[in-house]
């Protein structure tokens, strides 16, 4: 056997060993990890910055034991979900469930575990896993979060869950009504506001939003009554006066509209929209001088905070 033959044999043997070892290690390492739980897992967003993973059919005691005794087990199963942290908004992908999370702190819970503000247990200083307990407030908070993101359907789902757990919270009905209003589902919105009124009939905001809803529906008389009730409960309700003025303008009662605009101006003299709309009302009445005066005032105040910013998302005080 010549030198070249020996060289070929040695080099080939080394290459085959290296290649096979590397390939087999990679293939073994790629096998699916801990898929027992994967099919039973459901990821959903709880409060901002956390994701919660519900394991279906897992008894609560088992989840507790697993979290305390086998943190590595959960750590591995969570890794199988591929948390991509390469962007500013990390994403978790698992079986076509795509969630945006701003911080990847996965939280695991059994299906019937209650949910509330998370308690995070640092495990080995790495991924933090904790138990969450639910109550109506947590679902309400979730609803607010989805509402703020414009996801009204999910917001309504969470509000409904909150109501199931605590049917006496007026805020939930009120916010649910707002969500239906945003969706354009006026009838449902009215139902929600009416439920809220049953719980607390002294909240001006509910009547105000009901007035907005009736106005969108075209029920001007009912809108008027709602706004009036809001004003009775809160005589300084700027938005209600403004909207009343608009309502009367739509109805063609410009004189009454102007009265309401003036009340709005008394409460807040720097809002351009009020002057503008009052100017239009004067114009319809044929009082050009007053109209011009109003438009000039509107122009002077055009850089102030607009009514849109001022009146959106009115909260129950």
């Amino acid at each position: 056997m010549g030198k070249i033959d020996t060289f070929i044999i040695v080099i080939s043997s080394i290459t085959i060993i290296v290649g096979m070892t590397s390939s087999i290690r990679t293939l073994i390492g790629t096998r699916k990890k801990i898929y027992i739980l994967k099919d039973k897992m459901e990821i959903y967003h709880t409060v901002p910055n956390y994701i919660a993973i519900k394991i279906r059919n897992l008894p609560r005691i088992a989840a507790t034991i697993m979290l305390l005794v086998l943190p590595g087990f959960f750590s591995a199963s969570l890794k199988s979900m591929t948390i991509d942290r390469s962007n500013d908004k990390p994403k978790v992908t698992s079986k076509n469930i795509l969630m945006d999370i701003s911080k990847d702190k996965p939280i695991v819970m059994a299906e019937d575990m209650p949910l509330t503000m998370p308690k995070v247990l640092p495990i080995r200083g790495k991924e933090a896993i904790g138990l969450i307990y639910d109550d109506a407030r947590a679902y309400y908070n979730l609803g607010i979060m989805f509402y703020s993101k414009g996801n009204y359907d999910k917001a309504i789902e969470r509000y409904k869950k909150a109501i199931e757990l605590n049917p006496k919270d007026v805020r939930v009905y009120y916010d649910m009504g707002n969500a239906y209003l945003q969706k354009g589902n006026y009838d449902k919105g009215i139902e929600c506001y009416e439920e809220a009124i049953k719980l607390d009939s002294d909240l001006a905001e509910i009547y105000y939003n009901m007035g907005n809803l009736y106005q969108k529906k075209g029920d001007y008389n009912l809108a008027t009554n709602s706004y009036k009730r809001a004003i009775e409960l809160n005589p300084d309700y700027l938005e209600a006066y403004y909207n009343m003025g608009n309502l009367y303008q739509k109805k063609g009662d410009y004189g009454i509209a102007i009265e309401y605009y003036e009340k709005a101006i008394d409460l807040s003299p720097n809002l351009a929209e009020t002057y503008n709309n009052m100017g239009l009302a004067y114009q319809y009445l044929g009082q050009q001088d007053k109209a011009i005066n109003c438009f000039q005032r509107a122009s002077m105040n055009r850089h102030n905070v607009s009514f849109t910013e001022f009146t959106s998302n009115t909260k129950i005080r």
Partner: protein
């Protein structure tokens, strides 16, 4: 696929040229080129994909680079034999090892692409 072009062309020639034998089909240079193309593709894929795991990525690039060097060496030996620069040479042994290493390179490539696909599907 690019690496299979020499095999396909050789098969084409074998089918349509009466003077060719079965041994003509198994040429070591084709296998070496196939292995080279596979390992170049590996490096290209590993460069392209991020977040595979730094350690694993480096290992695989290292292995692919090593294969490229080995295949280049074998190619050089084959060309030297062709021009008569080397005479004392067991051609059959060379052929067997060239084919074997190509198959190992194929397995290595498969493991890399399998891993990349699994990561892409969220399974790792």
């Amino acid at each position: 696929m690019v690496g299979l072009i020499p095999f396909i062309v050789r098969l084409f020639v074998f089918l349509f040229y009466k003077g060719s034998t079965v041994y003509f089909l198994f040429n070591e240079i084709d296998f070496i080129l196939f292995g080279l193309v596979l390992n170049l593709s590996n490096i290209n894929e590993l460069e392209d994909k991020k977040k595979l795991g730094e350690k694993w990525e480096k290992e695989k690039k290292g292995v692919s680079l090593y294969f490229i060097i080995i295949f280049s060496t074998f190619l050089m030996l084959a060309y030297l034999y062709e021009i008569g620069a080397i005479e004392q040479f067991n051609k059959i042994l060379f052929k067997i090892f060239a084919i074997t290493i190509s198959l190992v390179a194929f397995l290595n490539s498969y493991s890399i692409f399998n891993r990349i696909n699994n990561i892409a599907n969220g399974q790792n």
